[in-house]
Amino acid sequence: MTEATMKKERPKQRPKHLDLLVIKQPAPAIASVLHRLSGAGLFLMLPLLIFLFELSLDSSLGFAMFKAFVGYPLVKLILIGLLWAFLHHVFMGIRILLSDLNIGTDIKPGQASAKAVIIISLVLTAILGAKLW
């Protein structure tokens, strides 16, 4: 079959565009977008994390300052947000590594694992976040 005849057989009523705010995304798409967002967030917050690492190892005074600093509600909130980003990024990352090995790439396990990644990350963030608050 040539390319020209293939083009003719395409259904005429195809969506001209996909409105990302209207169409419902499947779980793997949501998990994938969150993987990118969490990665970007972790990258943007790297200076904060390196700063905290430096402060915690500077001296016993620095360590005390570190503890006081991460005790501020706003800092705590940011760090719990980063905890979620880290957890989601890691669990989705493991899913990506398994996909690379052709494990769980069918529709059913693919959707189940994407949902699991989203839910486990949120639940673990809630549990650890409550513990650290």
């Binding site: 990665g39 990258f43 390196i50 430096e54 915690s56 016993s60 360590f63």
Partner: protein
């Protein structure tokens, strides 16, 4: 006859593989370090300092820092490649990202080497 001529800079596979190897290394590092730290409770400054200053830990933390920066470079570069279309904007963003990551690497490694 099919003639597939592969063109390009050929860095794609290396970056793709590198991103995955660094990811696996960082997951293993994180799990081991967390397990070791949980055994060190309560975590005082002296315990934390001695833990991070240990020779083995410094070796692996150094590798973690390098892994993180390479991993972040590939990931952030992919984001710019997807969304920043004008070449000048993309180039600028690539350079800023690269400089930031190189700076972070020096900063983080210097913390480690002061211990």
């Amino acid at each position: 006859m099919v003639k597939d001529i592969i063109v390009g800079a050929h860095y794609g596979l290396k970056d793709w593989l590198g991103q995955r190897i660094t990811a696996a290394f960082m997951v293993i590092y994180t799990v081991i370090v967390l397990a070791l730290l949980i055994g060190q409770e309560p975590l005082t400054y002296e315990v934390w300092y001695a833990f991070m200053a240990d020779g083995f830990m410094r070796f692996f933390t150094f590798l973690f820092i390098l892994s993180l920066m390479f991993h972040a470079w590939v990931g952030v570069r992919d984001i710019w490649m997807d969304y920043a279309k004008p070449t000048s904007v993309r180039l600028a963003l690539h350079v800023i990202t690269l400089l930031a990551l190189l700076g972070y690497t020096g900063w983080a490694v210097s913390i480690l080497w002061r211990l």
